[in-house]
Symmetry: C2
């Protein structure tokens, strides 16, 4: 039987995910982990998602106060629920396609992801970073934090891939910053957006 109501499809999906979970997940994080599994159909995230103490509280407070949300891909920005962000007064930024970012990256011999993070570090408001693609973005965020040039409310560190990925995630797991990281190679722009959405839905649904 085909269910046509999107809200019912989501509710039924979450019930199925709950039933098939084989790893115990703290109630504190369960909605977030389940939303990641919902967008990937991959139960491995139940084992790899890692939360720093107080990360969720820090993020919720920032979202409640209308923080900036910075992504490292247009895809992640596109996946973040616009109505929920607007209801919270949050703005979504992705600087990857900006001409000045391309110029800075070329001048510095860095990636555009690094130049994007530098641009984002100049934002005035409290900021959540949602990184689903570029390990160099995470490595740069760590440098900026260590240099005292940045104090994010949350780093979502879920780049996917095969090169630089584990080092980049390790740099955030060891940083003095609120984080949500998917250990290992898996992640992605869809995962980054799902985590932002799960956090926002705590406040808007």
């Amino acid at each position: 039987m085909i269910i046509n109501d999107p809200a019912k499809i989501e509710q039924r999906s979450m019930e199925l995910i709950e039933k098939e979970l084989t790893v115990p997940i703290s109630e504190e994080y369960k909605d977030i982990v389940k939303r990641v599994i919902h967008c990937t159909a991959d139960f491995e995230y139940a084992e790899t998602m890692t939360f720093s103490e107080g990360a969720v509280e820090s993020a919720l407070q920032a979202l409640q106060n209308g923080c900036d949300i910075v992504t490292d891909t247009q895809m992640a920005a596109a996946g973040i629920n616009k109505k929920a962000a607007a209801a919270l007064g949050c703005s979504i930024h992705c600087y990857m396609s900006d001409a000045d970012v391309a110029q800075t990256a070329l001048k510095n011999g860095s990636t555009r992801a690094v130049a994007s993070m530098d641009k984002a570090a100049a934002l005035d408001k409290p900021t959540i970073f949602a990184i689903g693609n570029a390990p160099t973005a995470l490595l740069r965020l760590r440098e900026l934090i260590d240099a005292g040039a940045l104090k994010p409310e949350l780093i979502i560190g879920v780049p996917v891939g095969f090169v630089n990925i584990l080092e980049a995630k390790e740099a955030i797991l060891n940083a003095d910053v609120p984080f949500i990281v998917a250990k290992g190679r898996k992640g992605g722009s869809n995962v980054a957006a799902a985590i932002v959405n799960a956090l926002m839905y705590r406040l808007t649904r």
Copy 2:
């Protein structure tokens, strides 16, 4: 050691994927499957990706002639390489946020994905559908094909999820249409975009 050149990161990633593949994949499809694994770090796709005979040739001819590409999420549209699409003269469409689509869906008691597919069926040019999210989109495409109202050059059928997903993929696997389908629950907007990109890169790289 951190590699900073995006082209080198991609090349090295593809080498690692090639080395870790445990399932033999036809050379005809290998670049496409590897690009999906590249965006998910999930080798299960090596076993689930299914191609109808002639699907790739049909898609390449359409892309070469500047076809339309229709997605069922803004996320998939955002993930398709804009430079490659422009070089081929291809336009990318996602109707999910259109006011007329919302109205039609409300009037018909359907999903917006169904109304989007109906809107796309009116496009003049040859069309590739890249469906990474909505099973109801795939089911509607099958209805339109069976009714003789649509003859796509390719359907990429990779919605992710837990409800309606297997039925929807089966409807495309059994249809008289060129298709690329990821069997099972897995897929996503990122996967749909990766497949479009892999096909375009055959012509533009």
